[in-house]
């Protein structure tokens, strides 16, 4: 592992929202995470880069409390997730939001009900309050409530679905937002819009974001901290320059392919 002496996290004076220590996870004989160490300051955007099957999604699932590690510690907002039982994990998940690759909006509900769903489940407020909150969240991501409220997810474009997914993810005002490859399969203009939305969520709501991606351009655009995972290990961490100057052969090859594609 190439340790760039002082990580961005250590340079940053903001308190740490996420601290992961020596995280290991195996599925059968295959070790997917081989001792991950990670620190993410509050209010920052951390992008985890890497190829397919390198352990990015597994790491994200650990942060969401959907998987238990074989060993190691995951401390989020002062709470250790590893020993948490179901009920505590449910409480923990109310503090985080996740934006899925395809949005994962409920196709049997209209847009209003999709965004209102987590509020109706967890907030004891009147329907009028919910309406006001939903409209506020939609407007935050440049959606016109009057236009989209009664529409169904299948009636929206990919970019608009991403906006609704973001509005739903921030419905309970989470401290942490997890993004699962948010720009995969999108055109360059929509990709840029999604990048802006992630930065918008950071600046407007002060949310800490963890993004897993293999879209290098997008990652360089939004990240405060970049990590590169290869075969379950972080091979480089830091800023854009640290990634670009990394001597690791896989990272080098990854970047080379990206450059060739963009020429």
């Amino acid at each position: 592992m190439t340790d760039n002496t002082a990580t961005v996290a250590q340079e940053n004076l903001a308190p740490m929202l996420i601290q992961v220590r020596d995280l290991k996870k195996s599925f059968g004989q295959q070790q997917v995470l081989k001792g991950i160490d990670l620190q993410i300051p509050q209010g920052s955007v951390c992008v985890i880069l890497g190829g397919s099957g390198m352990g990015k999604s597994v790491l994200l699932k650990h942060l969401a409390g959907l998987l238990k590690p074989d060993s190691g510690e995951i401390i989020v907002d002062g709470e250790d997730l590893v020993p948490m039982r179901d009920k505590h994990l449910q409480n923990y998940r109310r503090k985080i939001g996740k934006v899925f690759q395809e949005g994962a909006l409920f196709d049997s509900m209209n847009i209003f009900d999709n965004v209102a769903f987590p509020m109706r489940e967890h907030l004891k407020v009147s329907e009028e309050d919910i309406r006001a909150k939903v409209e506020h969240k939609l407007k935050l991501f440049s959606l016109n409530p009057a236009e989209v409220n009664s529409k169904y997810p299948s009636e929206l474009s990919g970019g608009m679905r991403k906006r609704v997914a973001l509005a739903r993810a921030v419905a309970l005002e989470p401290k942490l937002l997890l993004y699962d490859e948010p720009t995969t399969g999108l055109d360059p203009i929509t990709t840029d819009q999604v990048d802006q939305l992630i930065l918008h969520a950071k600046s407007e709501l002060g949310v800490t974001s963890v993004v897993i991606s293999h879209d290098i351009a997008s990652a360089f655009h939004i990240a405060d901290q970049l990590l590169f995972i290869y075969k379950g290990e972080i091979v480089v961490r830091g800023k854009r320059e640290d990634i670009l100057n990394c001597p690791h052969p896989y990272v080098h090859q990854f970047l080379e392919k990206w450059r060739q594609k963009n020429q």
């Binding site: 959907l66 409480n91 998940r93 899925f100 994962a104 909006l105 196709d107 049997s108 987590p118």
Partner: protein, 288 residues
């Protein structure tokens, strides 16, 4: 040469045993899957007693299962009554007992045919629908999204469906009984000329409430089984459209087989309770 001989012997032994190994794998697979369905059922049972109670979802599924299968249940019930009445007439005419076509048909319908065929219809229509809907939700990560929003997918998706199916199946079974009776009446009275008064009186006196209870109790179990198996299959769907299609097919096949096995088991279990007083008191004493 000497070294390879034992290896060949072992290989030929394995070839000989291959069918046994195959049966073993199938049996283990069946037991494992059965255990998983039971665990899924246990989790559903626990979630049933936890709030919040989702009345809106519950009524929505009641409507979907009830109204969705109503027409096909009436249709199947009517023709089952018609054909069973015809077959009973053909058989009973040999003994000059055409007037008993009503109770004979209704006994078969109430105890066995109504719950089994209603179950099959609901499995084919609503069960496949449940597996497809939940399967699509699984492959499009909507179930993961529920979990991420700290909402139990079993509580939100499975419990209302299982309860709605358990409640609706006996109603549909009763409607099947009614449609079957109309079919048997048309066959007996309108076609074969059995006196309507005799037909009705024989049916009235030939049937007891437990005959209907047996059907309704079976229907409750079948409703629970269909919904549970279909939700389980949908929950565990993998691999896109093909996986969802496979889940729907398996849900219908497993539900149908479970209904046929279940109806025998329930009949064996229920008889001493429901009919004990009829049979054991009225059996003629044979012997010295």
């Amino acid at each position: 040469m000497n070294e390879s001989a034992p290896q060949e012997k072992t290989a030929s032994l394995w070839r000989f045993l291959a069918p046994v190994v195959g049966v073993g794998h199938l049996s283990i697979g069946f037991v494992r899957e059965f255990g998983r369905v039971l665990l899924f059922g246990w989790a559903t049972l626990i979630q049933m007693f936890r709030g919040p109670y989702r009345a809106k979802e519950f009524f929505r599924h009641m409507r979907e299962i009830g109204f969705g299968t109503l027409f096909i249940v009436i249709f199947t019930g009517f023709f089952t009554g018609l054909v069973f009445g015809l077959q009973t007439l053909i058989a009973f005419r040999r003994f000059g007992a055409e007037s008993l076509v009503g109770p004979a048909t209704m006994l078969a319908l109430a105890r066995e045919l109504a719950p089994v065929l209603t179950g099959m219809m609901v499995a084919g229509r609503s069960g496949s629908g449940m597996a497809t809907e939940l399967g699509t939700m699984r492959v499009t990560e909507q179930i993961d999204a529920l979990e991420m929003m700290a909402v139990s997918p079993i509580h939100y998706l499975v419990v209302p469906r299982v309860l709605a199916a358990m409640l609706m199946l006996p109603f549909l079974c009763a409607i099947f009984d009614g449609a079957g009776f109309v079919g048997a009446y048309i066959m007996g009275v309108a076609r074969e000329g059995v006196d309507p008064g005799i037909f009705l009186a024989e049916t009235w006196y030939g049937l007891d409430p437990p005959d209907f209870f047996e059907g309704f109790i079976k229907a409750v179990f079948f409703g629970g089984t269909i919904a549970l198996v279909s939700c389980y299959k949908g929950f565990n769907a993998k691999g896109g459209a093909r996986g969802v299609g496979l889940a729907a097919t398996e849900a219908v096949v497993i539900s149908s087989v479970s209904i046929l096995v279940g109806t025998y088991l329930i009949t064996e279990l229920l008889h001493p309770f429901l009919y004990g007083y009829i049979y054991f008191d009225s059996f003629p004493q044979v012997g010295p």
